[in-house]
């Protein structure tokens, strides 16, 4: 495997009984790339992503994440990836600093490292004033940004974002994407699922899943040319309607 391919997926399949949730998908993601993983609700995005982050066993196929096989080395994968779910998932009854300390600790960072990191993080996000306040009191947009930063705390090779911008206002979404770009510039690969087709335009490459299969894969520009439309929304509609 070349050093540049941080995710390699070949004919990855997941069956639930007779239902094929993910049907032999194949793709590759390069280091530092922002890879958009699109699809309608129920298309199989989340299931596919769960296999890649090691919390769901694939039925068949091959997948290699951050240099480790998902079948045998899930524990090693977990150390090398960050994850942010669509539910906001920090602890509301812990303060900003306590959350950072807790998640830093879970990923095995040393105490001095955590202190260092949390000071930088709090400053970057402009959270100095609320660093010792309970997270539950923060507005959703701030929580979301904090959640993303926490997912990056241990410098993962890849960060998986499951609909990270659901329910936040456009300005915060914009700021959020700036954070994503910054992470990608530092060499972190970003694997992001989203509903928002305008966000798809921000990705380096996107794949579109329909009924468990990847029906389109390429840069947003290429896809628009391929389907002869001028925005990603139309690409998506054309695919989804068959």
């Amino acid at each position: 495997m070349s050093d540049n391919k941080v995710i390699q997926v070949e004919k990855l399949t997941k069956m639930f009984g007779n239902f094929t949730a993910v049907n032999a998908i194949s793709f590759e993601v390069e280091k530092g790339e922002i890879f958009g993983f699109l699809g309608a609700n129920g298309a199989g995005k989340t299931t596919a992503m769960k296999m890649l982050i090691g919390i769901s066993n694939p039925t068949s196929g091959k997948a290699n994440v951050a240099g480790f096989d998902v079948f045998t080395r899930a524990e090693d994968i977990k150390k090398n990836i960050g994850y942010m779910s669509q539910k906001f998932a920090l602890y509301d009854d812990l303060t900003v600093k306590e959350n950072i300390t807790f998640f830093g600790g879970i990923y095995g960072l040393s105490r001095t490292k955590i202190k260092e990191k949390s000071a930088v993080l709090v400053e970057e996000l402009g959270l100095e004033a609320v660093a010792n306040k309970l997270v539950g009191a923060l507005p959703l947009g701030w929580k979301q940004k904090l959640s993303f930063s926490v997912a990056l705390l241990h410098n993962p090779k890849i960060v998986f974002l499951d609909e990270p911008t659901g329910g936040v206002d456009p300005i915060t979404r914009r700021q959020f994407w700036e954070m994503i770009y910054k992470a990608a510039n530092h060499g972190t690969t970003v694997f992001v699922t989203t509903h928002y087709m305008d966000e798809a335009e921000y990705c380096d490459r996107v794949s579109i899943m329909v009924n468990g299969k990847i029906e389109a894969l390429g840069t947003p520009r290429k896809l628009k040319e391929q389907f002869k439309v001028d925005n990603m929304n139309d690409v998506f509609l054309k695919l989804a309607r068959g």
């Binding site: 639930f16 769960k50 982050i53 090691g54 919390i55 769901s56 066993n57 524990e75 977990k78 150390k79 990836i81 994850y83 779910s85 669509q86 539910k87 906001f88 998932a89 920090l90 602890y91 509301d92 009854d93 812990l94 306590e98 300390t101 807790f102 998640f103 600790g105 879970i106 990923y107 095995g108 309970l134 998986f160």
Partner: protein, 368 residues
């Protein structure tokens, strides 16, 4: 290990920042033990009784004095005719009426036979029963004093001795019961709620994606509750010794070890509940309905198992609280050691192993 300590610290933040769980953890045990110890009691004390004395002679006076001298009864009033009995019960304060027949002394001396009618208000059957037993006891005692000088050739003299709880204090029965309830409640309900809470909030997913192992997550979640349950058990024992003057006959160390064993059984149940429920509410309902009711009704804590119908007796065997109740009563009241309790202990160990094995099987390490 460092991860683990960080995790436990987080759990304590959760507990200490949530007023509800703080109340369940610390308010409830104290409230329950006080309630059961003081308010809810099978004993009778200073029950108001009325006297309808048709003779008003020396003997009846003596008996009345004996009864009012006992701490169980106080004579509330004297009534004059039979028809007053019903009226006085309807008022509700008087629970029993002693009705002495006419010419009580005379009959006693002449026929060696005189009658007292004990009328009790049986809207509360247990109390009525206890009152009539107590009055009977006082009468029998009086009778034996009367018969002292008379030489009766054949006589069966029952000599009753109440062992392990000679004063028949109901608190002796409630303390072990309350301890069982509290340990079950805190350990099973609180852990199942705290685990399902992480599922509900989505943080469980984050934890499963992190390098921390599922087993560490579970142990980390239950550890604080082991610790708090032990503190609770200690508080209950201290309260019962110093406030209710309950003697602990057996070994405190054995009591502590058995309590830890029961806590582990309850925690295992809590984990099992959390694997089958998706929301905190479900977990709470299952814990309350599935655990609390059987603990209260079928553990033998309030209702004796031996007088239940056979199916219920059989069901009571699968209730861990039943076995713990036997153990804890044995240690506290009878002062017996492990040589008499090994069977119950083994049953609890077996149940814990079974529940843990079942949870491990059910626990979805890989969330589907």
């Amino acid at each position: 290990m460092k991860r683990f300590i960080g995790f436990i610290k987080k759990e304590f933040y959760h507990i200490f920042r949530d007023r509800r769980s703080l109340f369940i953890l610390f308010g409830m045990p104290i409230a329950q033990i006080m309630l059961f110890g003081f308010a809810i009691t099978n004993e009778i004390n200073n029950v108001d009784i009325a006297v309808l004395d048709h003779s008003k002679d020396a003997t009846t006076e003596e008996i009345i004095n004996k009864i009012s001298a006992s701490k169980y009864f106080s004579i509330n009033q004297f009534i004059e005719k039979e028809s007053d009995i019903d009226a006085i019960f309807k008022k509700g304060k008087v629970k029993a009426v002693l009705n002495f027949e006419k010419d009580f002394s005379k009959n006693l001396i002449k026929d060696h036979n005189a009658t007292i009618q004990i009328v009790t208000d049986a809207t509360d059957p247990n109390t009525a029963n206890t009152i009539s037993n107590y009055v009977n006891a006082i009468l029998i005692q009086y009778q034996s004093v009367l018969n002292k000088d008379i030489n009766i050739t054949y006589q069966v003299v029952p000599e009753t001795r109440m062992v392990y709880n000679p004063e028949l204090k109901s608190v002796y029965m409630f303390v072990p019961g309350v301890m069982t309830i509290i340990l079950m409640l805190v350990s099973a309900m609180m852990t199942s709620i705290s685990i399902t809470r992480e599922k509900e909030l989505g943080t469980m997913e984050i934890l499963l994606v992190s390098p921390i192992k599922p087993i560490q997550v579970i142990v980390g979640k239950v550890f604080p509750y082991i610790f708090l349950s032990i503190i609770n058990a200690i508080v209950i024992v201290i309260l019962s010794i110093y406030i209710f003057k309950m003697p602990i006959q057996g070994s405190l160390i054995l009591l502590a070890l058995e309590s830890v064993l029961f806590i582990i059984t309850a925690l295992a149940l809590g984990i099992l509940i959390s694997t089958i429920s998706e929301t905190q509410q479900t977990a709470m309902m299952i814990s309350l309905m599935g655990l609390m009711l059987p603990v209260i009704l079928l553990s033998g804590f309030i209702f004796p198992i031996s007088s239940m119908p056979l199916p219920l007796q059989l069901i009571s065997n699968i209730i861990p609280a039943k076995w713990f109740n036997i153990i804890i009563k044995g240690i506290m009241l009878k002062g017996v050691g492990i040589q008499f309790l090994w069977k119950e202990t083994l049953i609890l160990i077996g149940m814990s192993v079974f529940f843990i094995a079942l949870s491990v099987k059910k626990y979805k390490i890989r969330l589907e």
